[in-house]
């Protein structure tokens, strides 16, 4: 019997730049490995998925280190998180926005950018995630 497909589910909650980076890297790597990838965007992370979203800020405690980090990323030719996520999506990853958080922030479907596949509830995401690995970022 064929093995069940591996699955990575990510709850993307944080809204800071240092957390969007692992979102891009892990979703892209998992998709390249043939995992089913489902991302549930909630909390402050939602602000990174609106149309005309600003670059997410660095958290205050690491602000001093941000320029060095950005420099290092550039030197390593690391792609911006949006581009990594786009590539992950080309390989099948899906991005879902939490319906409650969208309501709380008064963000409608038409306010969300092209990275978002749909607005769903927590139960839908939990059902998708069942039986796989789940990360909370």
């Amino acid at each position: 019997m064929p093995k069940k497909k591996s699955k990575l589910s990510i709850v993307m909650f944080s809204g800071t730049a240092d957390k969007f980076l692992p979102l891009g890297i892990l979703s892209q790597a998992a998709a390249a490995m043939g995992f089913e990838v489902n991302i549930f965007v909630t909390g402050w992370a939602l602000l990174g998925f609106t149309k005309n979203a600003k670059e997410p800020p660095f958290p205050n405690e690491f602000k001093d280190m941000a320029p060095a980090l950005m420099n290092g990323l550039k030197k390593m030719n690391a792609k911006p998180w949006q581009e990594m996520l786009r590539e992950a999506k080309e390989m099948g990853a899906k991005v879902y926005v939490c319906s409650t958080m969208a309501g709380v922030m008064n963000i409608k479907r038409e306010d969300l950018n092209e990275l978002v596949d749909d607005i769903v509830g927590a139960a839908t995401f939990l059902e998708m995630a069942e039986g796989g690995e789940t990360f909370f970022i």
């Binding site: 790597a29 390249a32 490995m33 043939g34 390593m76 792609k79 590539e87 390989m91």
Partner: protein, 76 residues
Amino acid sequence: MANIVVDARGSSCPGPIVELSKAYRNAKVGDIIEVWATDPGIKADAKAWAEKTKNQIIEIKEEDGVIKVSIKIVSR
């Protein structure tokens, strides 16, 4: 049976694996994919990828700072 070179030099993790997986999409059983990378993560990552996709690592070598991994496509 083709020999496909994936030049991912200068690309950081997970770039080389992403490029490998793109090449794999169009590859056929019997093809050899050779990944060129400078990111040291490729050595372990290519093994993990081959294990996961049930393909075979033939050789991993290093030439002038470039890691070259040859993978035989045996599974689609």
